[in-house]
C-alpha cells in the first residue's frame, strides 16, 4: 500500500508527520519512507541509519548531430516545452527545459537527435531496523523535478513488494511534482494548518485529489492557532479529519534539533497513534 503525505501550503508539517509516522509504524512492521520532495528533501535530517545504496540519477536529453541534420525544424515544432530551437543553421537544446518525452528524437527524419544521459540528481537509501528510507535530491541548476520523482518511485516499486507499506513524503503545492508524487498512491493524507492560508491551499489540494480520483483525509497541524474554518470545511465536505496535532513550542524545539517528536511529547504521540490506526484500517479495508 502506498500512502502519500501531501499539503497545499508548504511548511505545514508533511515531513514531521512522515518521519514520525514511518518510524512509529516500523516499531511493529516493515515500512518504506520515500522523500519525494526532491528539490529540498529534508526527511533525512530526522532519520539516521545505515547507508545501503547511493546512486547517480540520469534523465535523457537530445543531442544534436549537425552533420546529418537537414534543418527541417520538425524538432521545435513537436516540442511542447520550447526546449529545442532552430536558430538559423543551428539547433539549440535547453536541457533544463527538456521533459525527456523523446518526441524530437523519435520524430527526427534523419535521426539527428539521439538521446543521451544527463545527470540530474542522486538517490540514497538507508536502513534503520524495520524502516527503509529512500531519498532523492535534484542537482543544483536542474529545473525538472518530475523525472527524478518518477524514477525514484520506480526504484522503490522494483525493490519492495506492494504488501509493504510505503509512505511518500511529497512536495508542497499542487503542480506537476505533487501530481507525480501522488497520482499512483492508494491514499493521500493532506497536512494543513488551521489558518486562512492553510485552508485556501487545502482546498486547492482537495480539488487536485478529487481530479486525480484518489481518496484522502486531513491532518491539522499546529492545532490551536488560527481559527476553526478548516474543521468546519472538512465537516461540510465530509472529509475525514484524522488528527489534530497541537501547537507546542517543545515540538518546534525538537524539530529544530532534527529529532523525532513522538518519543518525547505524549500529546503528539496520541495524535500519531490516531494516524497510525487510520492507516492500518485503510490497509485492511482496501486489502492492500
Amino acid at each position: 500500500m502506498k500512502i502519500a503525505i501531501a499539503s497545499g501550503k508548504g511548511g505545514t508539517g508533511k515531513t514531521t508527520v512522515s518521519t514520525n509516522l514511518a518510524k512509529y509504524l516500523s516499531e511493529i512492521r516493515q515500512v518504506v519512507l520515500v522523500d519525494l520532495d526532491v528539490e529540498e528533501p529534508n526527511s533525512g535530517l530526522f532519520l539516521k541509519g545505515e547507508l545501503v545504496n547511493r546512486q547517480e540519477m540520469y534523465k535523457a536529453i537530445p543531442q544534436w548531430e549537425a552533420s546529418t541534420c537537414t534543418l527541417c525544424g520538425n524538432c521545435q515544432k513537436v516540442c511542447n516545452f520550447n526546449s529545442i530551437m532552430k536558430l538559423g543553421d543551428n539547433i539549440m537544446v535547453f536541457p533544463e527545459l527538456c521533459h525527456s518525452c523523446y518526441a524530437c528524437s523519435e520524430l527526427c527524419p534523419t535521426h539527428s537527435l539521439p538521446m543521451t544521459k544527463l545527470k540530474m540528481g542522486e538517490l540514497t537509501e538507508y536502513k534503520m531496523d524495520e524502516l527503509n528510507f529512500i531519498s532523492s535530491k535534484l542537482d543544483i541548476g536542474q529545473e525538472q523535478a518530475v523525472p527524478l520523482i518518477a524514477q525514484t518511485i520506480r526504484y522503490v516499486d522494483e525493490r519492495f513488494p506492494d504488501s509493504i507499506l510505503k509512505l511518500y513524503d511529497s512536495p508542497p503545492g499542487t503542480s506537476c511534482p505533487v501530481i507525480e508524487a501522488t497520482k499512483e498512491a492508494d491514499f493521500v493524507l493532506l497536512v494543513t494548518e488551521p489558518t486562512p492560508f492553510g485552508l485556501h491551499d487545502l482546498k486547492l489540494a482537495v480539488e487536485t485529489m478529487r481530479e486525480l480520483g484518489i481518496g484522502f483525509a486531513v491532518i491539522i497541524n499546529r492545532f490551536g492557532i488560527g481559527d476553526a474554518e478548516v474543521e468546519k470545511y472538512c465537516e461540510r465536505e465530509g472529509i475525514d479529519l484524522v488528527a489534530k496535532i497541537p501547537n507546542q513550542r517543545e515540538i518546534a524545539t525538537l524539530y529544530s534539533r532534527g529529532e523525532l517528536i513522538y518519543p518525547h511529547i505524549p500529546e503528539f504521540k496520541r495524535e500519531l497513534e490516531l494516524i497510525a490506526d487510520y492507516c492500518n484500517r485503510l490497509q485492511k479495508e482496501m486489502s492492500l
Binding site: S83, M85, L87, G88, F94
Partner: protein, 112 residues
C-alpha cells in the same frame, strides 16, 4: 539601425514591458525608414515553459541590431541571443517607447 522594444502596446506612447520572455509585443523601429512595425507576442501567456527562449527566437528572426527592454533576458533567452550580434539595453521598465528611445540615444540606458 533596427531597434527592438519589448512593449505592452503598438505605438510610441506604449509602455515598455519590463519582462523579456513574456512581453506582450515586440516593436521594431527602423531608423533609416523611420517606420514602426509590431509583432504580437500575447500568445506567450499560454506557454508554461520556455517563454524566454521562444521570445528570443522571435528576436533572432527579426534581426534587430539593438534591443531595449526592462529587466533583461534570463539565462536561456540570453543563450539564444548570444548567437546574434544584438546589443541589449536594460532599465527602460518604467518608460514609454518614446522615452526609452530618447534615453537610449542620450546614453542613459545601461548595456547588459
Amino acid at each position: 539601425m533596427k531597434i527592438a522594444f519589448t512593449t505592452t502596446g503598438t505605438d510610441w506612447n506604449a509602455s515598455i514591458d519590463p519582462r523579456f520572455g513574456r512581453t506582450e509585443y515586440i516593436l521594431i523601429y527602423d531608423e533609416e525608414k523611420d517606420e514602426i512595425t509590431n509583432f504580437d507576442n500575447r500568445d506567450i501567456a499560454d506557454v508554461a515553459h520556455g517563454a524566454g527562449p521562444k521570445t528570443a527566437q522571435l528576436i533572432f528572426d527579426l534581426k534587430p541590431q539593438v534591443l531595449i527592454t526592462g529587466n533583461g533576458p534570463g539565462g536561456n533567452a540570453a543563450a539564444v541571443l548570444t548567437k546574434t550580434d544584438l546589443k541589449i539595453y536594460i532599465g527602460a521598465g518604467n518608460m514609454t517607447v518614446k522615452e526609452a528611445y530618447e534615453a537610449y540615444k542620450t546614453g542613459i540606458l545601461k548595456q547588459s
